[in-house]
Structure formats: C-alpha cells, structure tokens
C-alpha cells in the first residue's frame, strides 16, 4: 500500500480506537445536542415563530430548525476537543511521536485532522438517528448528501482547533475555549436562529453572524440535508479551512512554532 495512505489509515484507526475507549466522551458528545434538542427547543418552540426560509419548503417547527445547527455543534466541540487534547491530555507526547515520522508534516497533520472528522461524522449520524426517534425525520437522500458537507465543515472546524492548539501555550481546562471560542461561535451563528431574526434585534449582530464561518458550516449542512447545495456557504467554509489549516501549519513548523516555546 502507498506510504502516505498507510500512515493516514493508521492515524484514523488510532483516533477511532481512542474514541471507542473513551465512552464518556462519546456519551457527552451525544447528550449535549440531545439536551438542546429535547429541552431547549421544546421551550423555545412557542417563543420563536419561523417563516418559510430556504431550504425549507414549508413551515417547520423549531426542533427541525436547530437540527443542522446541532450537527455543527457536535463538530465544533469535536474539532476543539480532539486538537486541544494535545494541550491538556498526555496527547502531546503522541504528537511528538507523530511528528518524528519521515512523512511531510502537512500530511501528518491533515491525517490527524481527518481522523477527528471521521469521529465527528460518526457522532452526527448517531445523533440524527436518535433525532429521528424523536420524530424529526429528514429527507432520506439528505442523510447521504450531508456526508460531504459534514466532511468539509468538520475539516474547517478541526483546522481551527489545530490552529488554536498551536498558538496557545497552556490551557488549564476546557472552559477557556468554551468561553472564548465555542460559545461565541455557536451563539453568533445561524445555528439557533435564522439571520433575519437576528437582524430584527441588531444588524451589527447579524453582520457578525454572517461573517462567522460556523454560520456557513451550519448552512452548508442545513441545505445538504434538504438536498440543496449552498455554494456561498461551501466557498466560505473552504476558504476558512484553507486559512485555518495554513496558519496551523505555520504554528507547527519547527522553525517558529509551538514546539519552540515548549522547553522539553
């Protein structure tokens, strides 16, 4: 087998096994969006009226609206967690080991990224299956078409995590990232409310949401679930990925990267 593929498959396999062994992580990853879906959405259902907006053809309930946003949320958490585990787990050592491989560094980091995305996609599908159990059933083909969208959005969010892991020196716990990355990204997006709704209260907030790459990840997923391609969102997500991954590569370059600051 090809040298590059051998390494990539091994990295993905390792990540998948690690994930299976950490059952609590799997459970947390599922419980989080389900709580939003079952509790939060039920409460907000009455408060929020939604008009017909693309890609929906008809009036939808709030639960239906937030499903794509929660898929994005799973990937957002996963992207941050798998990369940040490098900083606060003992994963730093395994990263060192990874980087002693003679394969190009960008390939190794991309493989690591893809491994995290594979895990996040698995989580999303389990979540969608449970949501279907609660009666939120999407178009059948949507379940297949969302796969490429999840791949792209997962790569973008994972690259952001990788970038953060390469720039922050030390992280005491996950809370800092929750406060300064995950929450702003999630709440300032179209995950919980459509942008037009946001514009009603503040156009500035709407503009911030429109710039947020996470909004575009969510919209890409939303449209794909309803068998449509949102070209702008795709472009935005791909561009964000290129920027985040590019900067992460600089961060992991031994000439001026994170490793330089860490006296080992």
């Amino acid at each position: 087998m090809n040298l590059y593929l051998t390494a990539m498959l091994a990295i993905i396999r390792r990540e998948a096994l690690r994930f299976i062994h950490q059952r609590s992580r799997f459970l947390a990853a599922l419980v989080r969006p389900l709580v939003w879906l079952v509790v939060f959405a039920a409460g907000f259902r009455a408060a929020l009226g939604l008009s017909i907006i693309p890609p929906y053809q008809t009036y939808i309930t709030y639960e239906v609206y937030i499903v794509p946003g929660l898929c994005g949320m799973i990937q957002l958490f996963n992207g941050m967690q798998s990369s940040l585990s490098l900083v606060y787990d003992q994963e730093m050592g395994s990263m060192r080991l990874l980087l002693t491989s003679p394969l190009p560094r960008w390939w190794l980091l991309f493989s690591k990224l893809l491994a995290g995305v594979a895990v996040s996609i698995l989580q999303v599908y389990v979540f969608l299956a449970i949501a279907a159990g609660f009666g939120i059933v999407l178009p059948l083909a949507g379940y297949a078409l969302v796969l490429p969208a999840l791949l792209v959005s997962g790569l973008m969010l994972g690259a952001l995590g990788l970038l953060i892991s390469s720039t922050i020196r030390q992280l005491e716990n996950f809370a800092g990232v929750m406060n300064f990355v995950i929450f702003p990204m999630f709440f300032l997006s179209s995950a919980l409310y459509p942008l037009w709704k946001m514009a009603e209260s503040s156009t500035l907030l709407r503009d911030i949401c429109a710039w947020n790459p996470f909004t575009h990840a969510v919209e890409l997923i939303r449209f794909a679930l309803y068998l449509e391609l949102n070209g702008l969102a795709l472009l935005w997500v791909c561009l964000s990925f290129a920027v985040f991954f590019g900067l992460a590569l600089v961060g992991y370059d031994p000439s001026y990267g994170m490793t330089r600051r860490r006296k080992g």
Binding site: A7, L17, G264
Partner: protein, 240 residues
C-alpha cells in the same frame, strides 16, 4: 560516515543561551552517553535532533543526511525514545508497534515481521498481545525502545529513558541497549546517572550548553570514579 554528526550547533530561548558551539560526531556502533546536570541543554539538544525545534546555527547530519535540508531522509534514520512515555495504554503492544510502523509507511506482513523482531530484541516477544496498561514501567519502556527500532534506524536516541524506574528494570534496559550497540547500532543515551555508563562507552559531557569533553569513559575517569570526575567538571552542581 558517522550516524550522527553535529557541528557548531547553537540555540537560544530568547536571550537565554541553551546550546553554544556544540560539535561532536558519534562513533558508529558505539554506545555514547550524553552526560550533563539539570539544565545543561540535553533536552534542547534532543528536541533539535528530532526536529521539534530548528536552529539556524550549526548543522546536524544523520547518516549523511542534513536534518535542515533533507529532514525526511534524516528522520527516517533516527529512532527516538522520549523521556515522557508516548504510548496508547488501551491498545496492545502489537497495535502500538503497528501504529508506529505505519507512520513510517510500513504495513502488513512486513510490519508484523519487523514488530516481532524488534520486540524479540528487547525480550518482549511474548508480550505482544498484552494491553500496554497491564505492563509495568520497565516493560513499557522496553516496548518503546523496540518501537523505535522498527524502521531499522542508523542511530537510536534515548532521552533519560530510565527515569522513574526501579533498579532492576533500569538495569535490564541498560543491558538491553548496550546489547543493541554491540550488535552494531549507534546509540545516543542522555542521562545524569553515571552508573548507566560502562568503561568502554563514549561519553559526551554537556554543561551549560557547551561540550566539556568527548572521550571513552575509561579515559575520562582515568582510574577515578566517574561520578567524582563528573562533579568536578561541572562544578559540583546538583544533577537531576
């Protein structure tokens, strides 16, 4: 051609000079100990050798490959055992070995054969199926050394590999690695423990980022205990 050749290597953390004008070449098939007190620059040197850091000063060549110009060729000739364990505890020894083999592009039967051979060299063959979590500290370390051999490196780098192990495990590892050198592998072993060094080993004494001596242990100690000579050279600073 020597397995590891270092010339005029320097490195600074901001204004703090960690390594200064470090030059030496390892003799092929020799066990060379890098002996230095705490803060001597051993870990910095190892980070440069494994390309976790890159320095603009000086040059490192591994089996003739310049680490700065052809890093991939150079890295493929290095086997590394880091001071911190880098193991997947919930996977078996064999799975850990195979993962690392794959990082070097080795898979399938070839990986299997290499893994078995490397484990056998460290007396770990019968433990291939065990979960790493169930192994004691000494065996975990031996697995890491076996793993570092899987791609047939020219030089094996070990950064204080016996830290935290009991005497017996330490002794076993020191014996095994000397055995590897006797079979022709070039070994570079960072330590602050003089009892891990044998008279026929080479010693590089590093202190405050500079090489104070590079010669055979027997010559270095000239009939005196090595510890005494070492403390004298480094001004009696506490070792760690």
């Amino acid at each position: 051609m020597t397995a590891l050749d270092i010339k005029d290597l320097g490195y600074s953390y901001g204004t703090k000079r960690a390594l200064d004008g470090v030059s030496f070449a390892l003799r092929p098939g020799k066990f060379t100990a890098l002996l230095g007190p705490n803060g001597a620059g051993k870990s910095t040197l190892f980070s440069l050798l494994t390309r976790l850091f890159v320095s603009r000063e000086g040059r490192i060549a591994v089996a003739g490959h310049d680490l700065a110009r052809t890093p991939r060729a150079a890295l493929s000739k290095i086997g590394v055992v880091f001071q911190q364990p880098t193991l997947d505890l919930d996977m078996s020894v064999a799975m850990n070995m195979h993962y690392f083999a794959a990082l070097h592009g080795i898979s399938g039967r070839d990986a299997q054969a290499r893994s078995e051979r490397a484990l056998a060299q460290l007396g770990m063959a019968e433990r291939a199926g065990e979960k790493v979590r169930d192994l004691n500290g000494g065996h975990r370390r031996r697995m890491e050394i076996a793993r570092a051999l899987i791609h047939d490196p020219e030089v094996l780098l070990l950064d204080e590999p016996t830290v935290g192990l009991d005497f017996k495990s330490r002794q076993a590892i020191v014996d095994h690695v000397h055995g590897l050198a006797e079979r022709g592998l070039t070994v570079f072993w960072a330590t602050h423990l003089v009892d891990e060094i044998r008279d026929y080993d080479d010693v590089v004494v590093l202190h405050r980022g500079r090489v104070l001596a590079h010669r055979a242990a027997a010559k270095l100690r000239a009939g005196r205990p090595l510890a005494e000579v070492f403390i004298e050279m480094t001004g009696g600073e506490e070792t760690a």
